[in-house]
Subunit: 355 residues, 2 copies
Amino acid sequence: MKKHNFYAGPSILPESAIKATAEAVLDYEGTGLSVLEVSHRGKEFVATMAQTEALFRELLGIPTGYAVIFVGGGASTQFFHVPYNLLETQAAYLDTGTWASNAIKEAKLFGEVLVVGSSADKNYTYIPKGYTIPADADYFHITTNNTIYGSEIKTDLASPVPLVADMSSDIFSRTLDVSKYGLIYGGAQKNLAPAGLTFVIVKEDLLGKVSRPLPTMVDYRTHIKKESMFNTPPVVIVYTALQTLKWIKEMGGVAAMEQRAILKSGMLYDEIDRNRLFVGTVAEEDRSRMNICWVMKPEYAELEAEFNTFAATHGMVGIKGHRSVGGFRASNYNALPVESMQALIECMQEFEKSH
Amino acid sequence: MKKHNFYAGPSILPESAIKATAEAVLDYEGTGLSVLEVSHRGKEFVATMAQTEALFRELLGIPTGYAVIFVGGGASTQFFHVPYNLLETQAAYLDTGTWASNAIKEAKLFGEVLVVGSSADKNYTYIPKGYTIPADADYFHITTNNTIYGSEIKTDLASPVPLVADMSSDIFSRTLDVSKYGLIYGGAQKNLAPAGLTFVIVKEDLLGKVSRPLPTMVDYRTHIKKESMFNTPPVVIVYTALQTLKWIKEMGGVAAMEQRAILKSGMLYDEIDRNRLFVGTVAEEDRSRMNICWVMKPEYAELEAEFNTFAATHGMVGIKGHRSVGGFRASNYNALPVESMQALIECMQEFEKSH
């Protein structure tokens, strides 16, 4: 049976990236060696890393003055690396969910943290608006897409201070004006690569301003200077990232990804809104295109487990909602085919008919 | 032409691990999905992670009271995580090479560092002996194998304070008495896995004693409590690690790996000592079994580039020495076949005959 991969992350990758990786695991670019066992200092991988950075920059339209680095440790590590590098006195944070809260917790170890807005009052079902960002904050931190709660900031916000964004789960899903940001980071395991890689895009003139000493691996300048090769990068993960970037380019770039995301998420939201059994959990204007959350209507609450089973037997993988929300979540990353979204919708319609 | 992989790391892995990974990239344990795109919370990967930890513990004979965690970031990240977690007042370090020096540099950010011995005076060609470890140090840090300089501490040292060892490049190459150590860490990209994974073995009662606040991701207790799943682990790298551990077990375990390492390194050291063109760089009793360094004898110095080319045309990959040492380095990790070592030796003999 055909499986439809709706996992929230690690998550679906393009077939071409998977096939190319399987081949490189057996023979990496004609070296006669596996990509799992080649030196990162060999000329083949030095070229792979350079191409990855170049294509990453090209697809996102990253201006000069911004560095791009690839490191390990995940976005959770960046939760403390960001304030370690940038927080001298006070930083502003927007609390839009679990990951934003985790980032706030780490920042408090390094300085004053002002939470300028929070949607915790309604279980993070909307994006706070109308808050004020202090003009003397070192930076303003947002989580653009809330993987768990299914809300998303889908535009580039204006900020009087450097804007720092965790874009783990929506990078490459919409066109960006990078010049509006001071720093963008994310775990790569959604729209970019398998788990094990983290990207940081940083305006270089923001660095080197804090008074505390920085451990070498924490200091972004270490990795910038060595072009992400200060220490051993996760070779095979970078290789798959490059294949994914190539696929994005072939498909028409980030603008095409955005159209796909709008189309596919719109199909599912329309069905959620139409189907008499289900209801969406997030304020309409803040609905995420990447992680679509919904629950049974209260009068059908007892059908939740049954729908999970029904969907699983129809090939749907990973649609059980996060325990913080319950219900269902379908992740709609770039590589998810329209056919998979259509299959999920048909599954919901069939389930509705039988109840 | 058959390639012989002598890379210092990332480095050769067992063929069975490579083949199993290539298959899992196309279909992970019958899920119909790639191991590159499955959730770490899915039951298949939860089982993979648990098996990896269990086999890692079994093969090294890790006693109760010690936790094993798998994290990202490489050994370079552990250079500052170790003192962050353990250094309250003073720590002792042994300076045996580049990586030891790098670890010393990071520790100085967190407390007093006493370098009890150093072989920097002779370009790190021996392991210092006869030093005194202060009884009030928080810990004593060693680098058991010096990948760049080719020296190795091949026994479990006695220490009056918790012994902390970076075993990035010799873990699983000899039997260990883990109870003699407080903490062992390493990048996994030599004898365990592709690049992108770091292991930490830690005696749990050493933790929670420093007075500074710890970032969540730095605190070893975070990862212990969540069994290396606090944040997303590098799924495919863990999968390959498990296949490598299975291979070690099938081959007879760590004791068998030690016999292989002694045999293969002995073959090459014998040839270096016999061949009139070459000379080893490291004091005989401190020679590494994992990274074998040698140079041209002074009277044949001008042949260095020629031998590098000659070896490359005979299928030898990665034998150019690190720039800090020059000459040649052959890495002899567990997965390197005896045949590859034999091929290198024949190459050296053939080169000798023609000069």
